[in-house]
Amino acid sequence: MHLISESMTYILLFIALYVEVFFLITYFEFSSSDEVEREKQITKFPSVSVIVPVWNEETTILKTIFSLLKLNYPKDKLSIFIVDDGSTDNTWKVVQRFARNSQIKLLQKENGGKHTALNYALEYVDSDLVGCLDADSYVHPEALKRIVVKFEDSEMMAVTPSVKIFEPKGLLGLIQKSEYIFGIFLRKVFSYLNALYITPGPFSIFRRSVFRQIGGYKKAHNTEDMEIAMRMQKNNMKIGNVHNAFIYTVAPTNLYALYKQRLRWVYGFLKNAIDYRGMFFKPQYGNLGMVVLPAAGFSVFSTMYFFGSMILSWVNSLIKTIQEISTVGINFKGFNLDLFYFNTDIIVFVSFIAVLGTLLIIVTSRGLAEEKHIFGLDSVFFLMFYTLLAPLWMTKAIYNVIFAQKTKWR
């Protein structure tokens, strides 16, 4: 049994390290050429529509709309569609102040979920490009211009931005800040690998023809932004990323809200992964099929495995400590600083390299996110607590997938 668990640990560590090395190699392989491409200036402004699906967002919607109106983009080329998905609060009333704004179109429908609101608005859209913005997110004034440049590549069918946390507060806010910044690195690498499998709700921009060719949004286990990206990938449509097109999103402020949000994400990922299982380990889907999707699935299970092992080892030492205390009372032996007792297992050295790789990713991603410092308190909290938090929702998501329990938006 011990041999099995030890072998399993080494195999998982090897795969985790392989993936980390692969991502780092990819990043440094492409980052310099990407720099040149980023210098390109926009030559023409295509027409863009931004759909904002709203449901009971009376407190945040105004800020979202104002941020869109402040976008540095020709006004005659930018339309904003606010879709009230049957709000039961004052959202519809609040947005009426824009009823006479020529850039903004207000739509209202019965509640049916985010994907129905997006599809409803798509029927009215006639622009070249179309995007979506969640009502709890705000855009950087230059974000759209930076994204649109990418569409000068005629094969580019969708472009994703970089999402950051809006005014992160408290421990959870800081952990999420670091996590989102980490995500900027991953999204960049996935774009280099042509393997983006999520077009985030906050401000991913598509060619309108995408929806004509592959259809509109689907419910997709409440993760429609993942499903549409996977469907695009399945249809060999190119998805890009602009890491300095910043979008700021409001993060859950308490553990329960975070748990619910992440449960929906992980459950959605697992269910979509099952729906699109035919893409796994298939060379015809490129790096997405061969590395990125398997790595994403692997990360869920390896996190669970290592967390489970850690809990088991804690429980074991706790039992031993209780047994020792009940036998001889508290017997503090002090710290033994003899080098002889330093742990020099293989796992220690491999983990050390893996942590160094993670630190390199954190430093690189903070550069991409244009953060002032290469390392911050948020990075420390992320490293300390994220692996303890993530298993909370991962366990439940796996349970829900196995026992067919659906997650809810709210």
Binding site: F14, L17, Y18, V21, F22, I25, T26, E29, L193, N194, P283, Q284, Y285, G286, N287, M290, V291, K320, Q323, E324, T327, V328, G329, N331, K333, F340, Y341, T344, D345, I346, V348, F349, V350, I353
Partner: protein, 248 residues
């Protein structure tokens, strides 16, 4: 079909990544083995130092007929046996109890313990128990084959006793170790396979024995407690006297 062109897959990159990961793993294995071997060497060094100590003491003891028992100082018995025991236990835990190197070290350690014990017995016979570590010694027989539920608990008791009474010499033996000298010791003292077993002053105690039980079996420990309490009381009295002189 050339996937490198059509799908962005670079098989070469996959292979290079594999190579880099493998190199990291191999380096980790190499480093781990290197430090593990260093530990083994350290244990070997301690064992050889103890062997020299015992040999020196035996030689000194042989000369005793010409010397007085008073010449047997506190350095007569090796101080490193306990440290060696701890380090060996740690190594056994890490490398596994069936590791051939660990088994060899354990056998040698057991032999050294027996020799140390015999030397102490000789001192006791000739010079009395005061010179022989005040009779503060015991033999502990355990098993780590999963057939001794109380061995772990007994280990806590002996560790506690050793930290409270550094003078106490604990000789611990793996009952199942394939070592003829150990088996002879077991048969000489008629120690049955009912572990944990503790041998104190030629009497064998079976089963778990708490700190209190051990003090009953080893009255010298109670004597040490009394001496310590007396020393503490005297120190307190002296302190109080000094402070009252200062206040006057």
């Amino acid at each position: 079909m050339n996937y490198e062109i059509s799908n962005g897959i670079s098989w070469k990159k996959y292979a290079y990544t594999f190579l880099i990961t493998a190199v990291i793993f191999i380096t980790a294995i190499f480093l781990s083995n290197y430090f593990s071997q260093k530990r083994i060497n350290e244990i070997k060094n301690i064992e050889s130092r103890i062997a020299v100590d015992i040999l020196a003491s035996e030689t000194q003891f042989s000369l005793l007929s010409e010397l007085s028992c008073r010449d047997i100082g506190s350095s007569f018995l090796s101080k490193e046996l306990a440290t060696l025991g701890d380090k060996l236990a740690y190594t056994e835990q890490n490398r596994g109890s069936d590791d051939p190197e660990v088994l060899n070290l354990k056998k040698y350690y057991s032999l050294l313990q027996i020799k140390d014990f015999l030397l102490m017995q000789k001192i006791k016979d000739r010079c009395g128990s005061v010179q022989a570590n005040n009779g503060l010694s015991l033999m502990y027989f355990y098993s780590n084959e999963g057939d001794c539920e109380d061995c772990e608990k007994e280990g806590y008791v002996l560790t506690k006793l050793r930290s409270d009474y550094p003078e106490l010499r604990v000789y611990s033996f793996d009952y199942n170790l394939d070592l003829s000298a150990l088996q002879t010791l077991v048969s000489v003292y008629n120690i049955e396979n009912k572990l944990p077993a503790i041998l104190i002053n030629d009497k064998v105690y079976y089963g778990f024995k708490s700190v209190e039980d051990m003090k009953v079996a080893l009255p010298s420990l109670v004597e040490l407690d009394k001496q310590k309490a007396k020393a503490e009381a005297e120190a307190l009295k002296a302190k109080q006297a000094t402070s009252s002189t200062k206040s006057n």
